[in-house]
């Protein structure tokens, strides 16, 4: 605890104090300088936009608004709405991606699940009207509310008894998922080594182990666990541990991988219904071929 606190202080205290001092002494720059001529008519948009991150990305010598809305000269002269570009829908997404699609995080943003006429950038983000406390100009804070509005089924899985504590302490859907990613496993945020996001937190299960549970190779955490939430302890996919183990550990028929427990494992005894009491290192071991420690 003390180490993290020192690291935290070393990074954040100078930043905070310097920022506070700067913000307290810096002369304010009027929004009209950057937003002219748009601010003449759209002050309700341009004034709060001064704290928008796009202000900095648009420092190109042009007015800030033109970065996304294009040349506003004719629109400003005539006031005709049809003479200004308003990025919206799938076409609007292309405007966003022109700048944002440069990193692996946005790898599938143009062709991914959230890139269609039904769902695209502006369904979740609002460049002008995001709540002040929302990160990444999202329409809601916390971001989970956005995910839940389309994925209520997944939301309810977190309501099961044994579940990740979604919405608490900064744990959000985007802690594990990349909404700009692709389909299936490509929607997951992997570790720098390409591992499932589970191992970002559950580091003790990373290995490699001399005696690896082969599920780490043929399968993954989801072979035994429900990642969102489960009725069963440890977020397992079965209520009884021996049932979960035996579904793989039955040598019938030949040709599948998974050894058969020896006959002294009498399942009629409670002793053998609790496999992990003895096989404690079920995720892998460096000292016991039987995963006993």
């Amino acid at each position: 605890m003390s180490t993290w606190f020192r690291v935290f202080c070393a990074v954040s205290v100078p930043s905070l104090l310097a920022g506070a001092a700067l913000a307290a002494t810096a002369p304010a720059k009027g929004p009209d300088d950057a937003f002219a001529p748009c601010s003449t008519c759209h002050e309700e948009i341009t004034t709060p936009f001064a704290s928008n991150p796009h202000v900095h990305e648009a420092v190109t010598g042009k007015a800030v608004c033109e970065g996304c809305h294009g040349d506003a000269t004719k629109h400003a002269e005539k006031g005709d709405k049809s003479l200004i570009k308003v990025p919206a829908g799938a076409a609007g997404a292309k405007v966003c991606l022109a700048c944002h699609q440069r990193t692996p995080e946005f790898d599938h943003a143009a062709k991914g699940f959230h890139a269609s006429a039904s769902v695209n950038c502006t369904d979740c983000h609002s460049v002008h009207h995001s709540p002040a406390t929302a990160p990444a100009l999202l329409r809601t804070n916390p971001s989970t509310q956005l995910c839940e509005s389309c994925h209520p089924a997944q939301q309810n899985l977190f309501g099961k008894p044994y579940a990740h504590h979604l919405g608490r302490g900064g744990l959000e859907c985007v802690s594990c998922h990349n909404p700009h990613g692709g389909r299936g496993e490509r929607s997951l945020k992997t570790t720098s080594a390409g591992e499932l996001p589970c191992l970002s937190c559950h580091t003790e299960k990373q290995g490699p182990f001399v005696f690896s549970h082969v599920s780490g190779f043929e399968g993954n955490c989801l072979t035994c666990h429900e990642p969102h939430g489960s009725n069963n302890p440890k977020m397992l996919i079965r209520a009884r541990v021996d049932q979960l183990c035996l579904e793989c550990h039955t040598t019938l028929p030949a040709g599948t991988l998974g050894s058969q427990p020896p006959s002294f494992h009498d399942l009629r005894s409670a002793r053998y219904q609790n496999c992990t009491v003895c096989h404690v290192a079920v995720h892998g071991s460096n000292s016991s071929p039987m995963l006993l420690k």
Partner: protein
């Protein structure tokens, strides 16, 4: 903790005050207070499921400031978010700051407390009234992450990163020694650090990045006999002699290094043709030393001897190489018709070597004769290699107005080689060999976006020629659908449905499973100030697979069912300075592990001034298990919070 909490909150308040002293474009909010808990019933199960504590709590803090002024400065944008600091077992802090074209910095910290102690889990003595089970955890995870980008937006952008993860704390575990199981106290201290650096680039229509990281892992676990647990789980004698432990100590130390290389490239090959390629390589390596000393009256069927002490020393080394490469081309072949073709190759191998030296002290055979010390030496070698090659293609339309159609095809060739350690083999068969599997996937989907209605459907079907492990399917089909209807701001209806069917009809496996999941949500907003939401869901799982029971090698079906329903309702009302919200949800499962879970939450907010207010919170949890009432609990959580915002 309280002192540290006070410093932390003080720091945030000072920063808020400083940043807003000349507030040109600063937004902040702070929600700080105290919460109390009142738990009746099983506190261990409450902590395993909910684990909210009592004390000071910073529910949320957010500060965003932008400095558009001319002249020298350290940053032009700064954002701080914090949540759950104090009584919440999940806490986070995030800071991002930067100066346009100079640097961009992201720092995050997360603290998570893991508590798990359940009466029925890993508890062979439950019928005898012992609770909780023998595997409990009370540990914490702390994660720090720092990423710095230098000269963002330039042609070449240096990148630096650092990650620190600490997982530590106590647990209760078990050790299988001398034909008995004994409860242990376990202490774990584990640190993972990763340093990374590289460059990003954006040159001539191509951009990407190359990162090199080094991960270091250091873990020490010390186990000792739980006081009073020397009789073990099973006090019955073995061949007339009780099996007991007088002392047990085990210390495991593992260190590991993992160089990680990642690369990414994207760019335009021609008009309407985009290339995306990525590569990653991780070279894992761990070294472990494990020393175990157990003293007592013990028995070994393997040696056919009684003994009074076991000294075990293990030296182990494991190496694993993971790499994967992916390249795909996205092309607009016709106006509004996109084609994507991609190829992915993944490789993972493991080589493990362990030398396990055991000294059984003061042994005698089961007749009480032939006293001597017996030593055994096992050299165990393990190797696994997995390769996968995936070819995929996807076609999609994007100029059919509100309609978007897509279809995909993929083929994955998977090869697995497993060479088991000789020591692992107890019943012949199933421990190793070569396994090949080809999975062909066909998928399709459509979305329709009309003015008030959005419809989406997607389908996929997997066909495999073989199963590697028994729970692998040969056929899998999944349907998903979603419908949304919005009537202005007054009404929103959302319905989702999912149906998954997987099977492997191979005689002896006979696997069949179905998952059905429906949800319906209605959100009513009759006036801007009032919003009411109602939801109902059904979640059903039916799974069957044949298993062989070890004691008689007889066959029986392993059946598992879930039959869950969820209901929820919530209401929010905000007028002027007053806000009120309430929610109720109920989850009920009548399948295996039948249970009922009710949650109620009520809160109200009142702003005394435009920037200062207070809120009251009340949460109630009621958990009932039908077969195991000892798990039941009722928990009430009360909170009073001060809200400060601009």
């Amino acid at each position: 903790m309280a002192k540290r909490f006070a410093y932390f909150v003080g720091l945030l308040v000072v920063a808020s005050w400083g940043a807003t002293a000349r507030a040109q474009s600063t937004q902040f909010s702070l929600d700080l207070g105290h919460q109390w808990t009142d738990v009746s019933g099983n506190n261990d199960v409450y902590r395993s499921q909910v684990n909210e504590g009592q004390g000071l709590l910073l529910r949320s803090f957010s500060l965003t400031t932008v400095d558009n002024s001319d002249g020298s400065k350290f940053f032009d944008h700064l954002r701080i978010d914090a949540a759950g600091i104090g009584a919440d077992p999940q806490a986070s802090f995030r800071l991002s700051a930067g100066l346009a074209h100079v640097y961009d910095l992201r720092f995050s910290y997360r603290h998570s407390e893991f508590y798990n102690a359940l009466p029925g889990f890993a508890n062979p003595l439950f019928a005898s009234g012992f609770a909780p089970g023998e595997q409990t955890i009370n540990r914490a995870l702390d994660t720090v992450n720092l990423d710095v980008t230098v000269l963002p937006g330039s042609a070449v952008t240096p990148l630096f990163g650092y990650e620190w993860v600490r997982y530590s704390g106590s647990a209760r575990s078990t050790a299988a020694v001398g034909q008995n199981e004994f409860q242990l106290l376990s202490n774990l201290g584990e640190t993972t650090q990763e340093v990374r650096g590289g460059i990003g680039f954006s040159v001539g229509g191509f951009s990407g990045r190359i990162l090199q990281g080094w991960r270091y892992f250091n873990s020490t676990q010390a186990d000792q006999l739980l006081p009073g647990a020397g009789a073990g789980n099973y006090p019955q004698p073995v061949l007339g002699q009780p099996v007991t432990l007088a002392s047990y100590l085990d210390r495991t130390h593992t260190t590991g290094t993992t160089p990680v290389t990642t690369g990414y490239l994207t760019g335009r090959l021609a008009d309407g043709v985009r290339l995306v390629a990525s590569f990653s390589r991780a070279d894992f390596s761990t070294d472990t030393s494990d020393d175990e000393a157990a003293w007592g009256t013990l028995a070994s069927f393997k040696l056919s001897r009684f003994y009074s002490g076991l000294l075990e020393s293990v030296q182990a080394h494991a190496e694993s190489l993971d790499w994967q490469g992916n390249a795909r081309v996205e092309a607009e072949v016709l106006d509004g018709l996109d084609v994507t073709v991609g190829y992915t190759q993944r490789h993972r191998d493991l080589d493990g070597l362990a030398t396990i030296a055991d000294l059984y002290a003061n042994t005698v055979n089961f007749s009480g004769a032939d006293p001597k010390n017996v030593s055994t030496l096992i050299n165990a070698q393990d190797a696994i290699q997995r390769d996968e090659k995936v070819v995929e293609a996807r076609i999609s339309s994007n100029n059919l107005g509100p309609l978007h159609l897509w279809a995909g095809w993929a083929r994955a060739d998977q090869n697995l080689d497993v060479s088991p350690a000789a020591a692992e083999i107890v019943v012949p068969g199933g421990q190793g060999g070569r396994f090949d599997r080809v999975v062909k996937r066909t998928s399709a989907g459509a979305t329709l976006a009309l003015a008030d209605v959005k419809l989406a459907v997607d389908w996929k079907k997997d066909d495999a020629d073989n199963a590697v492990v028994r729970t692998d399917y040969l056929n899998l089909e999944r349907w998903r659908g979603r419908a949304t209807w919005t009537a202005g701001k007054f009404l929103q209806l959302v319905g989702t449905a999912e149906h998954i069917k997987a099977e492997n009809p191979t005689p002896g496996i006979d696997q069949a499973s179905t998952t059905k999941h429906w949800e319906g949500n209605v959100v009513l907003t009759p006036v801007t100030a009032l919003s009411v939401s109602l939801g109902y869901g059904v979640y059903k799982v039916d799974s069957a697979i044949t298993i062989r029971t070890p004691q008689d090698f007889g066959l029986e079906p392993s059946l598992y069912t879930e039959d869950g329903t969820s209901k929820d309702a919530s209401l929010t009302y905000k007028v002027g300075r007053f806000g009120f919200d309430a929610g109720y949800s109920q989850f009920e499962n009548s399948g295996d592990l039948a249970l009922k879970l009710d949650r109620t939450t009520v809160g109200c907010d009142f702003d005394f001034t435009p920037t200062l207010g207070a809120s009251l919170r009340f949460d109630k949890h009621m958990y009932r298990e039908i077969a195991l009432p000892i798990d039941n609990f009722d928990a009430k959580i009360y909170g009073v919070f001060l809200r400060w915002h601009n």
